[in-house]
Symmetry: C2
């Protein structure tokens, strides 16, 4: 079984630009990627962990594959290459910005009997997708990709399981998402944000993030 993580370092997480500099956003993106890789590795599920990256990076225990293609194109080329090399082992495609992820989440999603397992992100996203047979599937991210992936699977006669996880649903794009990292995170991303002076503003009725 293998895992593949698409990763964009340059000008990462632009929607956090009001609170974090470009360098800080790139460092946060690397910290989140490190959290994901660490949990993938400690799950013990994978022979190979590939990162499809737009920039040269170095993360222990992974292969970094440089690509200039977009998200869909790079992943579909990856799936196609697996098939053409007759690598018919299951693959987990997982996003790099899931700092609440646990190795148990990984073990659970990859131990399903379904052909396709989708861990939804909020607002219709797909944060992880487990594909038993890579030659049977193509990805289609952006927009309501959860619905698109569900339909692609059904159209191809595959059975689909939806994986119910708050951890995996929590991808980090907006400033308000940082709250989740500060409240629930235990890894590199949470440590990095705290080092930058972020904490939870508890005074108000609603919870917000603030930078001291």
């Amino acid at each position: 079984m293998r895992a593949v993580i698409p990763f964009k370092k340059n000008n990462a997480k632009s929607r956090l630009g009001s609170l974090l500099s470009e360098k800080e956003r790139e460092d946060l993106a690397m910290a989140m990627l490190t959290d994901v890789v660490q949990e993938l590795r400690s799950s013990g599920c994978f022979k190979v962990i590939d990162i499809l990256s737009t920039a040269i990076i170095d993360i222990e225990g992974t292969n970094v594959v440089l690509t200039e293609l977009g998200l869909n194109e790079s992943l579909n080329e990856y799936l196609k290459k697996m098939s053409s090399h007759s690598i018919n082992e299951p693959v987990l495609i997982i996003m790099a910005d899931l700092p609440l992820i646990s190795s148990k989440n990984i073990q659970d999603i990859t131990s399903s009997n379904a052909d396709i397992v989708i861990a939804p992100g909020r607002m219709g996203g797909t944060n992880a997708i487990f594909i038993r047979n890579p030659s049977s599937f193509q990805v289609d991210y952006y927009g309501a990709s959860f619905l698109k992936h569900y339909e692609i699977a059904k159209r191809n006669g595959l059975n689909v399981q939806v994986f119910d996880s708050f951890n995996l649903s929590t991808d980090i794009d907006e400033v308000s998402d940082l709250t989740e990292v500060l409240i629930h995170g235990k890894g590199h991303a949470a440590t990095y944000l705290k080092k930058l002076g972020f904490d939870i503003a508890k005074n108000s009725g609603r919870v917000n993030v603030r930078r001291n």
Copy 2:
């Protein structure tokens, strides 16, 4: 084992006021409550399902307890009454606005061995909390209640499990939350929103809800 659901009908879900009339918001709140009660009942876990309500309502298979107290006060009085009547059975406190809930979620959260099990809501909330011994705990909602409940449990020497569920994390307060109901919901709330003409605006890169 019993379940208790705090419920506010009058002027429910005021943050949806830009898209829904007061009557529609109250009907949506009732539809979500119906979804929660239905899954609680079909889980087969509960002898008693109590609703602490601010208005007279009628939902099959539940006891409606009218209260004018606020959320914390009504629930803490409920826990205290259980203790003073020597009802030392476990209780699940669960919010009324969780339309993605499944009976399996209920079975899983109540089958934990921990003293306290917390299902976090987004932004630090507590959407469900399982309390093995009601005399040992008091609730403190609003703000980052997840952190407060975690601390209360630790202070009382109780062990805590965090219950990882996207379904249970998805409470409905804001307009953008309706997207989750339309994409993932299968119950009364999803049906009601579709009847009102809501659907997903898929054209843009980001997913939004719209009313036709």
